[in-house]
């Protein structure tokens, strides 16, 4: 093995909001090693009380996001070789813009509360007794919705957003992207109600289109585009007096 005997220098954030510091560890280098592998190795071999989150390890559950060398990433799909800087050091910290519970585990309550605030739930217009509605995947609205539905709620976009950092009321890219997929869902019955929610205080109009969310989204979604769509639809609805 090419990495036999080699180690990686890791700086890991320990502590919570009020008191945290980077602590240094040496971790054996392995082939195809992910950042999550590194964190897990430290927890299993050096620091049994290290707190961090993960579940699926294959980029589906969205629970393992952390800040790696200053950038928010999904750690289970981020190879160490990709993020190593010149010093052969890797710095792993919790996500930005969220309170830290301990070490690498953040409190995501506010993040998910904002999904609820943005009315990120489907409002049905039919019952189980109705025929299943046929929707062509080629319809414009459906294509818009499809472009945003692969969100895994990892919080990377929220952590990368400078508007979230400066405006605690801002709903954030993930919640607004979710709202945009529902605005484009022809089966949904809550369009106006949802547009009112996403244009209330901290709504889509607060986005500065800096595109941090789009840059870092691990699923290569484009929340900035979704938010721009919401702005346009909400502005037209306001001018028409529908809201």
């Amino acid at each position: 093995m090419a990495n036999e005997g080699k180690t990686i220098k890791v700086l890991l954030s320990r502590g919570d909001n009020s008191n945290s510091a980077l602590k240094e560890y040496e971790v054996p280098a392995k082939e195809s090693q992910t950042v999550l592998d590194v964190v897990t190795w430290i927890q299993r071999n050096l620091e049994p009380d290290l707190s961090y989150r993960f579940a699926c390890r294959v980029g589906m559950c969205g629970s393992c996001a952390m800040t790696v060398n200053g950038k928010p990433r999904w750690t289970c799909r981020t190879h160490v070789s990709k993020v190593m800087d010149g010093d052969k050091t890797i710095t792993i910290e919790p996500l930005r813009n969220m309170p830290v519970i301990k070490d690498l585990a953040c409190d995501l309550n506010e993040f998910f509360e904002k999904w609820t605030k943005a009315k990120g739930h489907f409002i049905p217009t039919k019952t189980r007794d109705d025929q299943v509605q046929l929707i062509s995947p080629n319809e414009k609205a459906r294509r818009e919705a499809n472009a945003g539905i692969e969100c895994i709620n990892c919080g990377v976009c929220y952590a990368s957003c400078d508007v979230v950092e400066n405006d605690s009321s801002y709903l954030g890219p993930a919640a607004l992207n979710r709202a945009w997929t529902l605005v484009n869902d022809v089966r949904d019955g809550g369009k106006i109600e949802r547009l009112k929610a996403v244009t209330s205080e901290g709504g889509c109009q607060s986005c500065h289109s800096q595109q941090g969310c789009t840059t870092y989204c691990p699923n290569t979604l484009n929340p900035t585009r979704s938010i721009a769509g919401l702005k346009k639809v909400a502005a037209i609805a306001t001018l028409k007096g529908e809201m």
């Binding site: 244009t199 502005a235 306001t238 001018l239």
Partner: protein, 110 residues
């Protein structure tokens, strides 16, 4: 701290200003061809309804547009909210409208 109505106002004023800025830049390039003198500028603008309207519209659009932009900066960077933020926004509109109107008056009506 930006309502959807203020957002729309900022976008509409931007749409109004875009062609006015291009026109303004075009006139600047045209005006300096034979050297730049106050007499030449005033000769074009004084008593002109057209230039009065153009620059008057520009001043109104700019005052609204810039005040909304500054409102966001003041809210995000200084944390000012509520009635205080509204008063500051209004004061910026009045200040820019005053300064701009004075300039338009000077080149068109004086």
């Amino acid at each position: 701290m930006l309502s959807i109505k203020l957002y729309i106002a900022q976008r509409l004023t931007a749409m109004l200003m875009a062609p006015l800025v291009l026109l303004h830049l075009g006139v600047m390039i045209y005006a300096i061809q034979g050297g730049l003198t106050a007499g030449e500028i005033l000769g074009r603008t004084q008593g002109s309804f057209f230039w009065g309207l153009i620059y008057g519209l520009f001043v109104v659009a700019l005052s609204i547009h810039a005040a909304i932009g500054l409102r966001v900066v003041i809210y995000e960077w200084l944390g000012v909210t509520g009635a205080r933020l509204n008063w500051i926004t209004t004061a910026i509109v009045i200040l820019l409208l005053g300064l701009g109107s004075k300039a338009v008056y000077a080149v068109v009506l004086s």
